[in-house]
Amino acid sequence: MDLLAQVLLTIVYLLVLPVRLVRAVLGHDKLRLRRPLNAASYWVVRDKEPNSQSYFSEASLAEGCPGGLAVGQFFSDRGAARWFTPMLRLIARLYALPRERAADKYDVSADRGASIPDEVYTLW
């Protein structure tokens, strides 16, 4: 990864830190890291069903849509990723390759580093 991307990713991460702090103070826990003590069940109801249009989107209707931040949601428990994903997608534009491929043989434009173990790569 080039230096520019590393710098940009570091800057975004530095912005993540205070957000993390504020959310911790406010007790927000989107990942349910604290055990819900009185819960009789941990099932989450999927109240939205994909429709024929949502299948054309890379975002998920059923599992939460990262489409950007609505007013008042920043400090809500709906998650803070929606604030950072647009930034990261903007950075990603710098690296978008042309749709045409030059070589006869297709090869993916980026791959995982050799030092990344399979167990964590499959989560990414």
């Binding site: 990864m1 991307a5 990713l9 991460y13 993540v16 830190l17 957000v19 993390r20 959310r23 990942l31 890291l33 055990r35 819900p36 819960a39 069940s41 941990y42 099932w43 989450v44 109801v45 999927r46 994909p50 024929s52 299948y55 054309f56 989107s57 890379e58 975002a59 998920s60 599992e63 939460g64 849509c65 990262p66 998650g79 803070a80 990723a81 929606r82 994903t85 990261l88 997608r89 990603a92 690296y95 978008a96 390759l97 042309p98 749709r99 045409e100 297709y106 993916v108 434009s109 980026a110 791959d111 990344i116 173990p117 399979d118 167990e119 964590v120 790569y121 499959t122 989560l123 990414w124």
Partner: protein, 619 residues
């Protein structure tokens, strides 16, 4: 959206684990294959360009002739989960952030562009994306033989979901409940796979195979400290014991302290502790699976259950669900892991996007999962002549199976390459290594001299469907080798006092040698077996071979293991099979109608078996 006269849909799963492609034409599966079979890299995660090319060639079409292309998950939802996790675990997540995001910036956030490049801009339609677990659910429900069924999907993680419940009827399915990341039964199992010194995403089978050697003495500790399970099968995990959200390993120091030490070094001696850990996590997994199926039964009242997701490959758990669960019938997608997602998204396009009526096949629509490349006798002969191989050509199938049955009865190990390659992780009689299960030395021989793998690992039996109940306590057919069933008591052999002592020996190789039944090569230490039932409709020639073997020996069972060595994907082409034949101690090889005997191969002594073995990293 209206389908054209003939609708061609390509499904793709890629970029994470076990990439694959599947092609539906007018709702029928025409081809499906995993990328690893072509690239010869096990669980290859790259964009499945070779599998796609194969699928298109099977239908004789080019990308421009495709009506729809579907991807098996939703990249932006997954990205949302990833970033949310890094925020929740800041600042410890910094290293992982810097490692993972470059791939997203360069590739995964440009998926449509990547696909355009892969298809050379020849595909003119729009791309379709389905939720990961919906793809799993579709791969389980739509090809199943059921008009309606409860649905359970369990795996590591997709976008946010790790486990889902739902219901399908006709041409529609709906997932109604989910457990969300980071709480994941699949990842709990993988954490123990890692901790017991096996590779995650491939070693889970080994943990399952190791479990019967141990006692589940850590089960209560796991349930007390790591995972809290409700009566309805839902669960919550204490993430302070794990490191996969923020780090580069599965387990944390706290986990290691809890279980009394660091993870086992891969390839080091397996102790009783690892066996007990395996038994414990297996017991927890089965308990959660059983509770989940009881809950989904309560919600749906269906008699039928379909399952998919990596955890659905846990055949021991599946066997218990069938025996102890509330469902009358279950059907599990043979490619239950991520590769099956390619098929699932293609089905979703056909049924959900295009609203096509569903045609139900009373056996199922998976066609025995024999959906990969096939090589005719002409191509095989060309290759064999080129390779200077010595072979006998049998024009008559009857003579061929008769000859091979004789070899098997003589305890020879045979590589069997016939028809279309399997889709999914199991060899089902198209790319199999087979042997006589009655032999007391067969398991050790196959493990050590042919597969070059750990000696404790059991082999699976295939049995003629009509004779299955004579040997195994199995109520359902099991054509995809996804159910474990006990060997019937009448076939078991009581161990002598001396053997009882051996069965406590810390060296697993000695334990494996104890003869436990009339089919010892396929009877695990707890008298269980991972059964494949073989029938003529699905398995054709393989069925007729088994039938002939039974006529000669009275035994309707064979050992059936995948045609590969440790770390190698299952063979795809005659070249792959011939190389594996020369590189191992296999006695004979059947390629279509050709029979090759090792002793007749003049080029066998010159073959560099060591180089062949070392070309595959141990899994």
């Amino acid at each position: 959206v209206k389908p054209s006269e003939s609708t061609r849909i390509l499904g793709i799963s890629a970029l994470y684990h076990d990439s694959a492609a599947a092609l539906l034409v007018d709702g029928k599966i025409v081809a499906a294959a995993q990328e690893e079979r072509f690239t010869r890299k096990k669980y290859d995660h790259h964009f499945p360009i070779n599998a796609i090319e194969y699928c298109l060639s099977e239908a004789g079409i080019r990308p421009i002739e495709l009506d729809y292309i579907g991807f098996y998950d939703k990249p932006l939802a997954k990205f949302d989960r990833l970033v949310e996790t890094y925020i929740a675990f800041a600042p410890q997540s910094f290293r992982s952030w810097m490692k993972s995001l470059p791939t997203w910036l360069k590739s995964k956030l440009h998926l449509q562009r990547e696909m355009d490049r892969a298809f050379r801009n020849e595909y003119r339609g729009r791309y379709i994306f389905a939720d990961h677990h919906e793809s799993h659910a579709a791969s389980a429900f739509f090809p199943s033989p059921f008009e309606e069924a409860a649905i359970l999907t369990l795996d590591g993680v997709g976008e946010w979901s790790t486990t889902t419940l739902g219901y399908g009827r006709g041409n529609h399915l709906r997932l109604t409940h989910e457990i969300r990341f980071p709480h994941s039964l699949g990842l709990l199992y993988s954490a123990f796979t890692y901790y017991t010194g096996f590779l995650v995403n491939s070693g889970e089978y080994k943990v399952m195979g190791l479990a019967p050697y141990g006692e589940p003495r850590f089960k209560d500790l796991i349930l007390q400290e790591l995972i809290h399970v409700q009566d309805d099968g839902s669960f919550w995990m204490d993430m302070s014991y794990f490191n996969y959200c923020q780090g580069m390993t599965m387990t944390s120091e706290k986990f290691h302290r809890l279980f009394g030490g660091p993870p086992r070094n891969p390839e080091s001696f397996i102790t009783q502790r690892e066996m007990d850990l395996a038994a414990s996590v297996q017991a927890v997994c089965e308990e959660v699976m059983l509770k989940c199926v009881r809950h989904v039964h309560k919600l749906t009242k269906s008699k039928n259950l379909v399952m998919a997701g990596g955890v659905a490959l846990n055949c021991v758990g599946n066997g218990r669900i069938l025996r102890e669960g509330p469902f009358e019938k279950i059907w599990i997608q043979p490619a239950a892991g991520d590769s099956g997602g390619a098929l699932g998204v293609a089905y979703l396009i056909w049924y959900h996007v295009l609203s096509q009526p569903r045609v139900i096949n009373t056996t199922d629509s998976q066609q025995g999962s024999l959906l990969g490349p096939e090589f005719d006798n002409h191509k095989i002969r060309l290759f064999l002549d080129q390779a200077d191989a010595s072979y006998n050509l049998f024009e008559n199938e009857d003579e061929l199976v008769d000859h091979v049955a004789d070899l098997l009865a003589d305890e020879k190990v045979v590589g069997w390459f016939s028809g279309r390659m399997e889709f999914g992780p199991r060899a089902l009689g198209a790319r199999s290594i087979i042997g006589d299960p009655r032999s007391t030395t067969m398991q050790a021989k196959m493990n050590v001299k042919i597969k070059f793998r750990e000696s404790f690992r059991p082999f699976a039996p295939c049995v003629l469907r009509e004779d299955a109940e004579e040997y195994f306590a199995l109520q359902n057919e099991s054509p995809y080798m996804l159910l474990v069933a006990p060997v019937l008591k009448k076939h078991r052999r009581r161990p002598t006092d001396e053997e009882k002592v051996i069965m406590m020996d810390p060296d697993l190789r000695k334990r494996v040698g104890v003869v436990r039944s009339s089919i010892p090569a396929v009877t695990h230490v707890d008298y269980s077996a991972r059964v494949q039932t073989v029938d003529e409709e699905r398995h054709g020639r393989f069925y007729r071979l088994m039938k002939r073997f039974k006529e000669k020996t009275g035994c309707p069972v064979l050992v059936n293991t995948s045609f590969n060595i440790r770390g190698e994907p299952i063979v795809c082409t005659p070249e792959d099979a011939f190389r594996c034949f020369l590189g191992t101690n296999m006695d004979a090889l059947v390629l279509g109608n050709h029979l090759l005997l090792k002793e007749e191969q003049s080029n066998a002594p010159a073959f560099d078996a060591e180089a062949y073995k070392s070309s595959f990293a141990p899994d």
